[in-house]
């Protein structure tokens, strides 16, 4: 059991379900603890994606992770979207539903990006109400992830971590702590990632994200295109000491290698948590 306040389970070490791995997963039923599902990819399809999802959800624990809730947007909530999200969560018996602390568009337009919030009292109050409304519709506490950000608003009066923590407490939502995003945003804004980690309310962290990124010299892009770097592993270890065992997920979205490679990267997290190496590698015949 995790130590979070809702007793949401520590699902172990999972990876994001990606199209390139569908055939492998269906053919081999690999011994992985759980999968994270990109909600929007399965909402409006009756084709192969939904077929694969049903097979996966039948066999493995799943969690839904979205990118289009736009919880911080000043547009009205998209109730059609939330209804479909809830239906998908029910269909897959998802353990929880997550999205990002961000907005993705306004005036009816979707930019399809995780755009940063100004960290002001006004946006904090606004977002608290929105998160509460969403949790009510989903009938479970929404889980929010800290996104990677590339700019800061001059009118912000809160730090990102304090904004997120206060939001989580006031709106009673969970936190999906993306440790790579902490590293990326802190590098981009010249902040200390360790003090970010230390200020997160540990009992609200229900999931971790780990991923690789692309260092451009002047800034870092959150590309999910590579292995996790040592500094991020060290932040993960530091955070786990505070949170205890929490469901951990490895994201890989660009230049995606084989299932085994992605899974092996996720399993490295076991070592960083001080757990023994699993027998899983034998299942791959390596």
């Amino acid at each position: 059991m995790g130590r979070n306040r809702w007793n949401l389970p520590d699902l172990g070490f999972g990876i994001g379900l990606r199209t390139v791995h569908y055939s492998y997963i269906l053919a081999n039923h690999p011994p992985i603890d759980w999968f994270e599902i990109l909600s929007e990819n399965y909402m409006d399809t009756g084709g192969r994606p939904l077929y694969v999802l049903d097979q996966v959800a039948e066999r493995y624990p799943v969690v839904l992770h979205g990118v289009s809730m736009s919880v911080g947007s000043t547009d009205p909530l998209n109730l059609d979207y939330l209804k479909k999200l809830k239906a998908l969560a029910d269909r897959t018996r998802a353990h929880w539903v997550s999205d990002h602390l961000c907005w993705t568009g306004v005036s009816g337009i979707n930019v399809h990006d995780l755009l940063p919030m100004p960290y002001t009292d006004e946006s904090l109050r606004y977002t608290i109400d929105r998160v509460k409304a969403v949790s009510e519709i989903l009938e479970s506490p929404l889980v929010l992830e800290n996104p990677s950000t590339y700019l800061e608003f001059g009118n912000s009066t809160w730090s990102e971590v304090d904004f997120l923590s206060t939001l989580a407490q006031e709106a009673d939502c969970g936190i999906l702590l993306d440790v790579n995003n902490v590293y990326v945003s802190c590098f981009n804004h010249g902040l200390d990632p360790e003090s970010f980690i230390d200020r997160v309310p540990a009992d609200r962290v229900v999931q971790y994200h780990l991923a690789g990124h692309t260092h451009k010299g002047t800034h870092i892009l959150d590309t999910h295109s590579d292995h996790v770097i040592d500094e991020v592993w060290s932040l993960y270890r530091r955070s786990c000491q505070r949170t205890g065992g929490v469901a951990t997920l490895l994201e890989w979205d660009e230049n995606i290698p084989s299932f085994e490679v992605v899974h092996a990267e996720a399993l490295k997290a076991r070592r960083h948590r001080g757990l023994p190496e699993p027998d899983h590698t034998r299942a791959y015949g390596t």
Binding site: N41, S73, I109, N110, H112, L115, P118, E152, N155, H189
Partner: protein
């Protein structure tokens, strides 16, 4: 005075969506109305390494790259024909005209065929319009509901005298098409790495459908197209058959008709035989 949350978001979106340079975007009338250009460096803090333009520029660059990637996945044939530069110009113009209004990127390309047809100065406009329409159809069929498939047992259960007025219900993931260019063959050739597939005008007919979750198409002769098109549009079997036997320049024998029909059933194009209510 700092803009409120709503205005900040409208401003940032206006800057991201502007098709010009970072500086032009910040100075554009729509953006300036929300945040005066002189306020910009105070609204977006510079970092140790990047100024305010560079920082908003990251979001602007990622916006177009992401939408282009999504459209390329839905329109690989179009992207192949146009090449990177012209495809990117097309995407820039298209998303400026039709920005995404859906929570899913799967719907982003819905109006691309229409945009191609209406935009002046597009080379091979007719061909590209049909290619785009065909690629859009493929992505719709990819996501269509999965249907049950008509079984030999269900066919055997139809009383012989009922066939005349029976209607055949096609599977949901199916479309019968009359085409003016060989767009199906074009896409197949692109997929197989043929760099210059044929694009010359050629009237032909095809049925596009999904079987075991994979998209396929069958070329049809003109009379076969007429028969299948009638059937999927709900014309009773007897009437559809006699229309084809009667009309058309090409002579078709009954044996031929039934062999098509059997082939389509075997291929899983239909989900049910609907009989008239015996009452």
């Amino acid at each position: 005075m700092a803009p409120d949350l709503g205005n900040t978001q409208k401003w940032m979106q206006a800057v991201i969506l502007h098709p010009g340079s970072d500086r032009e975007a910040v100075a554009s009338p729509r953006a300036r109305k929300l945040v005066p250009a002189s306020e910009f460096p105070r609204l977006i803090r510079p970092s140790r390494t990047l100024d305010s333009f560079d920082r908003i520029g990251i979001y602007r660059g990622m916006y177009l790259a992401r939408l282009q990637e999504a459209l390329e996945a839905d329109y690989p044939g179009l992207a192949h024909f146009l090449g990177p530069k012209r495809f990117s110009d097309l995407v820039t113009g298209y998303v400026d005209r039709y920005p995404s209004r859906s929570y899913t990127l799967n719907r982003l390309g819905d109006r691309l065929p229409e945009y191609i047809r209406s935009r002046p100065g597009i080379v091979r406009q007719d061909f590209l319009y049909e290619l785009a329409r065909f690629e859009l159809l493929m992505s719709r069929l990819f996501d269509a509901e999965e249907s049950p498939v008509l079984t030999p047992e269900a066919i055997g259960a139809v009383p012989p005298e009922s066939w005349e007025t029976a209607r055949l219900k096609p599977v949901a993931a199916l479309a019968v098409q009359a085409l003016r260019y060989p767009v199906g063959a074009y896409l197949e050739a692109v997929r197989q790495g043929n760099p210059r597939p044929a694009t010359r005008r050629k009237n032909h007919w095809a049925v596009v459908y999904r079987r075991q979750y994979a998209l396929r198409w069958l070329d049809l002769s003109r009379p076969a197209y007429r028969l299948l098109d009638a059937l999927v549009n709900g014309v009773p079997l007897g009437e559809a058959l006699s229309r084809v036997l009667r009309g058309g320049r090409q002579q078709v024998g009954e044996v031929q008709l039934f062999s098509w029909f059997r082939g389509w059933v075997t291929e899983g194009l239909f989900q049910a035989v609907e009989l008239d209510d015996p009452a």
